[in-house]
């Protein structure tokens, strides 16, 4: 009897919760097209896209991709699902939840490298070798890109743009007035910062917005590249070094510490996009950040060359292209595989990439897009660097180093900016590297 009662109770609640929820899905079906294909007879062609390009210019850039896609596939309807919050912490969780619940979107955005690997490891993605081969990307894309989407011998994503993370932006009038040259390595950076501080105490020599903690990584990365060069950089972020004893890492950390007195004092309360404004005004002297800051400066009315300028940094010992790559995927079990294929093909198309990247403020990956494609000097130089210099995957955001390590790493660095305790930072980093097995997680990078 008791058991029967329990069963009844469960049934009652299930029934009541079904009734309770019933009206809502109907509302959704009417409004949103995601669930609007319940009738298998009329297969409406559509494509659900999850991406995080929501900020001002990014949205227009996405519209370019849509435009090209529609031109080639007039019968496919795009269901656009932009995720505000710049690829925040929860995006990946919710996305993985949806993938685990077998409700995948037809395609979604990821970063090439270790983030993409996370989805591959979860067996949530199908390979895209067909698209890769059809567009001959082995020859049209640089070899590094190839490496960053290849896992277990298969390709799992189609990248379509690259941001350069290692730009040093600076205020031109300030540099002219003080007769300064843009620094080429970290020692010069410190010297220039010192000169600014001495001549103009009210100016913050180096801008930073460490409330977004990853910006602290951006700054450290250029210091590390300057001290150790790209090989050490790649080894460090893939767990190949003994952090506690390695002299180069220690030297880099010491140099990073030497920057602290020259940083904008309230960096802990600001985000990166708070900085370009004051930099254009000359209240901040320099800033290490990706090319996306250029769009902000231009938008705010500051002129490249007159108000601000940017140089690849460091130039010594070797100037590299520190790269962040946006990628789109093919989830397992999607409803519209043809639409997905069409979408990925469109992304690999040099014409789409050319037009898209001008607005997005990044550069195209396809080698057929010429440097002259870009109207501004900065991106022409970025494009040239992409073709001419060594390309190194940026650590930030999980392209090179694994996500779980990065989370702790950015905490270690932001704390360090207040304590300046080199020994503590190195031992904490070493501990995290070993306990999270960064070397093991990064094996893919060194796989042949």
């Amino acid at each position: 009897m008791k058991r029967l009662l329990t069963l009844l109770a469960i049934a009652a609640v299930l029934a009541s919760s079904l009734v309770a929820c019933a009206p809502v899905p109907q509302v959704i079906e009417k409004e949103v097209v995601v669930t609007a294909t319940p009738v298998p007879v009329v297969v409406e062609k559509e494509l659900t896209v999850y991406h995080w390009w929501t900020a001002g210019g990014e949205k227009q850039a996405m519209d370019v991709i849509f435009k090209h896609f529609r031109a080639a596939n007039p019968d496919i309807k795009i269901v656009d699902n932009p995720l505000a919050g710049g690829g925040g912490i929860t995006l990946k969780t919710v996305m993985q939840g949806m993938l685990a619940a077998k409700m995948p979107p037809d395609t979604f955005q990821s970063l090439s490298g270790s983030e993409l690997k996370m989805y591959v490891d979860g067996a949530y993605l199908d390979p895209v070798d067909d698209v890769w081969a059809a567009n001959n990307l082995d020859t049209n894309y640089p070899a590094v890109i190839n490496k960053m989407v290849t896992f277990n011998g298969k390709k799992y994503g189609i990248p379509m743009n690259a941001h350069r993370a290692n730009w040093l932006f600076y205020n031109v009038p300030l540099f002219k007035e003080l007769g300064l040259e843009p620094p080429t390595n970290v020692d010069e950076l410190i010297a220039v910062a010192k000169a600014i501080k001495e001549a103009r105490p009210e100016v913050s020599p180096i801008g930073l917005g460490s409330r977004d903690k990853w910006t602290a990584i951006f700054l450290f990365d250029v210091v590390l590249l300057s001290e150790g060069g790209p090989d050490v950089y790649e080894q460090f972020y893939t767990g190949q070094l003994d952090v506690e004893t390695d002299p180069v890492i220690r030297a880099a950390m010491e140099k990073y510490k030497a920057l602290i007195p020259y940083l904008y004092p309230y960096h802990g309360a600001k985000i990166w996009s708070d900085i370009p404004g004051p930099l254009g005004e000359g209240q901040i002297g320099m800033m290490v950040i990706g090319d996306f800051a250029a769009a902000q400066l231009v938008q705010a009315g500051y002129v490249e060359g007159t108000d601000w300028e940017a140089v690849g940094f460091p130039q010594e010992p070797e100037e590299v292209f520190l790269m962040i790559v946006d990628t789109f995927t093919r989830p397992v079990g999607i409803k519209h595989p043809e639409a997905n294929t069409a979408w990925l093909n469109n992304l690999a198309d040099p014409d789409t990439q050319a037009e898209f990247n001008i607005i997005k403020g990044s550069i195209a990956i396809h080698k057929d897009v010429p440097d002259s494609n870009y109207p501004d000097d900065l991106h022409q130089r970025a494009s040239a660097a992409f073709k001419g210099k060594r390309i190194v995957p940026a650590s930030a955001h999980g392209a090179l180093a694994p996500q779980n390590f990065l989370s702790d790493w950015q905490d270690i660095l932001t704390r360090f900016l207040y304590t300046g305790d080199v020994d503590a930072a190195l031992s904490q980093t070493a501990l995290v590297m070993t306990s999270y097995d960064v070397a093991g997680q990064s094996e893919w990078y060194w796989a042949k």
Binding site: S17, A20, P25, V32, N81, L83, A84, G86, A101, I271
Partner: protein
């Protein structure tokens, strides 16, 4: 007699002064939010934040609203059904526990109280997994389900606290007339316990509308995301646009503030009952 009154009033002046100063401090954040939500970007950049706006830059509200629009709609489509169902299920059980002689009332009451007051974090991840298992992650029904699980126990406690106060005679009379529990709930308790129902509903609506943790952990993108995460994203993404942020914060606050202004009495009584002080 009148003299005493006047002296009494005069003696209150220092007190009233102190209270006024305190109230002004309490209003300052609200004032700056309203004032700066109506300023132009140029005015904002001049940093005279405590000054009232020169004009009424309503365009800020249009901009903020266009960003928050879908989030507000989602908030409404999640908060309202959650409130209705939670209050119904809660008062349904709350009635039985508070008005019927039932051996395990105490136990259930005790267990529910604990479940009500435990921090959400303790069940956050299993709740995420539950929504994944039921294939409703990142959907409005999923959010409703999550909020129902978290808020129905509270609805039960609050209504039970209120129902305690309904006179015994009412139920005795109904019982003598042969009225069973179900009829009593619908015909007599609901109308008589209006205060309880409204107070509980208001409180739960406000809680759900204002929640951030669940909304953020379980949804992404405009299809299901509520207004609070969108507002938080507005802060994270758009630097130096304080006026838009302030307008967005104002818009998001409108429903709970309206409730507070017009139904403040219920809000307070619900809150008090919510502490089980009742």
């Amino acid at each position: 007699m009148r003299k005493i009154n006047i002296r009494k009033r005069l003696s209150k002046l220092p007190l009233l002064f102190v209270l006024t100063v305190a109230a002004l401090v309490w209003l300052l954040p609200m004032y700056t939010m309203v004032a700066n939500s109506l300023k132009t970007a140029r005015e904002i950049s001049r940093a005279q934040y405590y000054l009232p706006p020169r004009g009424l830059e309503l365009q800020n509200y249009v901009t903020a609203f266009s960003i928050l629009q879908q989030g507000l709609l989602n908030s409404l489509l999640v908060s309202l059904p959650t409130t209705l169902i939670a209050v119904f299920l809660g008062s349904w059980a709350g009635f039985f526990l508070s008005r019927m002689r039932f051996k395990y009332s105490q136990t259930i009451f005790f267990a529910t109280t604990i479940a009500t007051f435990l921090p959400y974090q303790v069940v956050l991840f299993p709740l995420t997994k539950l929504l994944v298992t039921l294939h409703v992650i990142n959907t409005r029904p999923g959010l409703i389900l999550a909020y129902l699980i978290l808020n129905t126990p509270m609805a039960m406690l609050i209504t039970a606290t209120f129902f305690e106060m309904i006179p015994v005679e009412l139920q005795e009379a109904a019982g003598l007339d042969g009225c069973g529990p179900i009829t009593f709930y619908w015909r007599i308790l609901l109308p008589v316990g209006r205060l309880a129902i409204i107070s509980t509903a208001i409180l739960i609506f406000t809680f759900v509308w204002n929640d951030f943790l669940i909304a953020m952990a379980m949804t992404q993108g405009p299809l299901a995301q509520m207004a609070t995460p969108v507002l938080a994203g507005l802060k994270g993404n758009y630097a130096q646009v304080w006026h838009i942020q302030m307008a967005g914060a104002m818009i998001t606050s409108v429903p709970p503030l309206l409730i507070f202004i017009f139904l403040g009495r219920y809000f307070v009584s619900g809150l008090m009952a919510g502490t089980l002080k009742g």
